[in-house]
Amino acid sequence: GAGVSQTPSNKVTEKGKYVELRCDPISGHTALYWYRQSLGQGPEFLIYFQGTGAADDSGLPNDRFFAVRPEGSVSTLKIQRTERGDSAVYLCASSSVPMSALKTGELFFGEGSRLTVL
């Protein structure tokens, strides 16, 4: 499809396990974002990539969270030693312009990956 694709759509894991969530942005979009939406909350910024580099990772909650985008397209969010508090929907979004030029609101979100940590 032409939209942002996220896999898996649902992931159930046990506390302490390692999890990877994948995002395939819209083709040609150089900017990629990860957000996390906990129950009853709005999306919360985690990290922003411009090309291959993480331009802003200030939203990552701690060092158990890491994200990569080695070829400037697909990105993987990695969570080590998962905790029950990590349970949330992880949203990926992409845009064709850098974050500093994001004045049109054109962030295109995927459907999210729902993570449940038991």
């Binding site: 709005g42 919360e44 922003y48 949203l91 850098p98 500093s100 004045k103 609101g105 459907e111 999210g112």
Partner: protein, 114 residues
């Protein structure tokens, strides 16, 4: 510290009437505001935005009003349609520079009754 607040978790409106969704913010450095709409099991989709240099922006049935002195914005939908039933998120751009984050509110669930 919630910088963007949507104090009404839900709103119910009759089809054909006006829906008014409200949003308050605390950070005076915000210079751009957006509304996103989210259906169940889908990602948020951009609806409408407004720059801090304006006080109104209109797009079809959707109008966003900004009151900077009150740090308040609102989204008006008129006439409301059943297909408008969704969660609406207010978001703000967190400042100038190379890394403008979007700060989201907690959302308002709009139900438009036929």
């Amino acid at each position: 510290d919630q910088q963007v607040k949507q104090n009404s978790p839900s709103l119910s409106v009759q089809e054909g009437r006006i829906s008014i969704l409200n949003c308050d913010y605390t950070n005076s450095m915000f210079d751009y505001f957006l509304w996103y709409k989210k259906y169940p099991a889908e990602g948020p989709t951009f609806l409408i935005s407004i720059s801090s240099i304006k006080d109104k922006n209109e797009d079809g049935r959707f109008t966003v009003f900004l009151n900077k002195s009150a740090k308040h914005l609102s989204l008006h939908i008129v006439p409301s349609q059943p297909g408008d039933s969704a969660v609406y998120f207010c978001a703000a751009s967190a400042g100038r520079g190379a890394t403008n984050k979007l700060i989201f509110g907690t959302g308002t669930l709009l139900a438009v009754q036929p």
